[in-house]
Symmetry: C2
Subunit: 244 residues, 2 copies
């Protein structure tokens, strides 16, 4: 039930990985399993972590985000850190690790289902996420949340231009758009840059590449919550305070 | 300039890989390079081809389409066909092959640019393609064709349901939609199934997994061309003959 004209927000958009469902923890688990696999070659966990990080960042322009890119980077990190000593059978193990990331159960964050269901009664909801298209579709289907979202946008990167194109495509005014996510760099900054609103919800781990800071001049459109259970009240408060 | 009401087709949609630009030839080149890389291990080209095909098909449900999935399948095929004897340095070579597929130049098919430019003057054009989202965006940008397409849909699979959802989303009537592509299985059958029109344009090579046959009862909405230069006349003929 939309009450048009009474709402500040026309659309409430959510990041998916680590905002609706757990994701980074699977990457961290895979990385820990990789370190275990490479330990017999005399490679320590920190060396694996450093190599994987620099390889992932170097691969971003070519491979992009998601579990398939991560798997290829894990293989390269295995070869690099073992100076090419890694056996083919262990590389097959790395691929198995990667595939398990593409088929794991979807675990929703706390309060996710009831918050999304509640906000869907009053607002149009959207997902804007990076990652492998097929994997995100799989996770959305497995999440049981599909019915609540009117639009799902899987994008290759989350730049200001990408958000701007999405708002334009759907005819959404930037000042009536709010984005919720766990990455300042991908979910918050570009949205504030457009003149939209942003709600930051930190996840307990984050990929170092996503870390960034919020500029002071946009703080009035920037909010923070600890968990999704706080979102409905926050949205109500934002709308009451900012509707003219 | 759209002349609404005079046109049979509201939207003309194109597959991208091997319909607008060359793609399968890059896969075949990579496969040939893989066979060359594995020859010193005593593996012949046919063994590589067979292993790669069965691994790719087995990986489809988990990894989907595109160059990253193909690269992971090439690595698995290397391990399998050499019974694990492949050296890490050669696996790094396989990854390099895969990355070169994600950065090669985009070569348009014959007559592509002028045909697309001409049809864009009279019809709304759309791209519907499988593959890695980021890679397809890269190729579209590099193709110089972006300006002619009003909508670009990168999908994880091309089923009847997927086409149906796209038409519904954009409010396109199935009987006013035509799809052009090189895969009977992905571009033609699901579209005919919906009651839409289809133009098949065979490419000189096709992945065996895409091969299929057109049912007789849909033949009146099925057309075939040899190259894109024939498309504008065909569309004109279809519209003249079938507009009531």
């Amino acid at each position: 039930m939309h009450k048009e004209g009474k709402m500040l927000f026309e659309t409430i958009a959510f990041d998916a990985d680590d905002t609706l469902w757990h994701s980074e923890s699977h990457y961290q688990d895979a990385q820990a399993a990789l370190a275990e696999l490479l330990a017999p070659y005399g490679v320590d966990a920190e060396t694996v972590q450093d190599a994987l990080y620099h390889i992932e960042v170097a691969n971003l322009p070519t491979l992009g985000y998601g579990a398939k890119a991560f798997t290829l980077s894990m293989i390269e990190a295995s070869i690099e850190t073992t100076s090419g000593r890694i056996r083919a059978a262990d590389i097959q193990q790395v691929i198995r690790l990667g595939k398990s990331m593409l088929s794991h159960d979807v675990q929703l964050l706390d309060h996710c289902h009831e918050t999304v269901a509640r906000l869907a009664q009053s607002h149009a909801l959207m997902i804007i996420t990076k990652g492998d298209l097929m994997d995100q579709e799989r996770k959305l289907a497995a999440s049981g949340l599909g019915q609540y979202f009117q639009r799902v946008e899987v994008v290759s990167d989350k730049s200001t231009e990408v958000y701007s194109a999405i708002l334009k495509k759907h005819g959404i005014a930037p000042e009536r758009f709010v984005m919720i996510g766990n990455s300042i760099r991908s979910d918050i900054l570009p949205v504030l840059d457009l003149g939209s609103w942003a709600v930051y919800m930190p996840y307990h781990v984050i990929w170092a590449h996503e870390v960034a800071e919020v500029p002071v001049e946009t703080q009035e459109r920037f909010f923070e919550i600890d968990h999704l259970g706080q979102l409905p009240e926050l949205v109500e408060r934002m709308e009451n305070e900012h509707i003219s």
